[in-house]
């Protein structure tokens, strides 16, 4: 293994390959980014990005939108980072996903099965569960989350039991057909996964999702356009490598995967695209 290279992870979102980012910045002559790196480490968002690249905690910190950091400066900078255009765009995707699940539930007859894959902290599933408990107590909706991280799945199981949410969690690789629960789903939600896959793997994942949907079932997923400053900082300071895609590219992948009815929409910043693919009846 070459010097400065750490082992390749099976987690596609963990893109960091450099053992020491400051050393790499010095080697590449990007000394101006050293203060940014160390200041970034004082913020919860920067620290998570630097240590675990595109982790579920990184995404969920943006979704939650509650600043945290070391010392007062870290806290204040974290709040400003959470207000960046790219962070606002990323936050919008989980809100859209939650709305799409709620729309599916209100439009369909029971029982309904929804899968989040890879589910990360499954914020949208927990919020839909709370919404069902509050406003639609008698609906038969089965929410399920799947993630490759066994430790996370155990944590989610505990949380689900504590909240009485009824969400089931399973451990499995989103790119392996055998890992999926056996039943077919009315809705499959996937946020922030294909952003770390190349087009071939992304299309393969879309095909798997298509195959796991009931006829008429909906696939809800996201894609992101690059925000130049955020991308520059994330690549250089956090080693976070993202696959950016336009709405047209996402539609192309969905067509390749066999989706017949495809729609996309963008958030207010124009950076985030949501794709809805429907499997033919």
């Amino acid at each position: 293994m070459a010097e400065g290279i750490v082992g390749v992870s099976t987690f596609h979102n963990r893109t960091r390959r450099t053992a020491s980012i400051p050393r790499r910045l010095v080697r590449e002559g990007k000394l101006h980014l050293l203060p940014v790196y160390y200041l970034g480490l004082t913020t919860a968002l920067g620290k998570e990005a630097i240590e675990n690249s595109g982790s579920y905690d990184f995404a969920d910190h943006i979704y939650r939108n509650r600043p945290a950091g070391r010392f007062l400066i870290g806290y204040l900078l974290d709040a400003l980072f959470l207000n960046l255009k790219s962070a606002r765009a990323l936050r919008s995707r989980y809100r859209y996903a939650r709305s799409e699940i709620q729309r599916l539930i209100t439009e369909r007859a029971d029982p309904i099965d929804v899968l989040g894959v890879p589910c990360g902290l499954a914020r949208e599933l927990f919020e839909v569960s709370a919404w069902l408990a509050g406003e639609h107590r008698n609906r038969q909706v089965r929410l399920c989350g799947m993630d490759l991280d066994q430790e996370l799945v155990n944590r989610l199981d505990v949380t689900s039991r504590r909240l009485g949410s009824g969400i089931g969690f399973v451990c499995g690789d989103a790119l392996s057909a055998d890992a999926y629960p056996t039943q077919a789903f009315d809705g499959i939600v996937s946020l922030g996964f294909t952003e770390f896959l190349d087009d071939t793997l992304a299309a393969a994942f879309y095909r798997l999702a298509h195959g796991k949907l009931k006829p008429g079932g909906r696939f809800v997923t996201s894609g992101m356009r690059a925000h130049r400053l955020s991308d520059y900082l994330l690549r250089n300071v956090a080693d976070l490598q993202t696959s950016y895609r336009s709405a047209e590219t996402l539609r192309g992948l969905a067509r390749q995967a066999g989706f017949e009815q495809i729609s996309t929409y963008e958030d207010r910043t124009g950076l985030q695209t949501m794709l809805i693919g429907v499997r033919q009846q």
């Binding site: 007062l72 204040l76 400003l80």
Partner: protein, 133 residues
């Protein structure tokens, strides 16, 4: 000092500066650090003549978050609107060809540290939870 610089179209820069000012005031309040944003006149990039100071105040180019931690108040953060001063100096243009506008938000690191210690004391266990992430 830690400083973030925002560059863009005049309207976008004005909106972002206003948003950041509101966010910071709310964050300081939420942490129990008193104070408010006030106009200031010592922008680092402008001449210090009386006329320049008056113009600067009229245009609200510099605003500081002043906290009453000591008798005269102490500025913990400031927002400095540069208009197109730096964009002209460095040739930064928008896609339309017009000069960009910019502002910076600056934090005094030692002052923030002092403010934290004076507000919550020296024991990190007593600090707000959000500051120990």
């Amino acid at each position: 000092m830690a400083e973030l610089v925002v560059v863009g179209a005049a309207g976008v820069v004005d909106d972002e500066a206003a948003m950041i000012e509101g966010t910071l005031a709310e964050l300081f309040r939420g942490l129990g650090i008193g104070g408010a944003f006030r106009p200031a006149t010592d922008a680092f990039f402008l001449p210090s003549s009386r006329g320049a100071r008056i113009m600067q105040q009229l245009k609200g180019l510099k605003r500081e978050f002043v906290s009453p931690l000591e008798e005269s108040g102490i500025a913990l953060a400031s927002i400095n609107r540069h208009e197109d001063f730096f964009a002209r100096a460095f040739g930064i243009r928008l896609a339309s060809g017009r000069s960009a506008h910019s502002f910076c938000v600056a934090f005094g690191l030692e002052r923030l540290t002092a403010a934290g210690l004076l507000t919550w004391g020296p024991d990190p266990a007593q600090w707000p939870k959000a500051l120990s992430a």
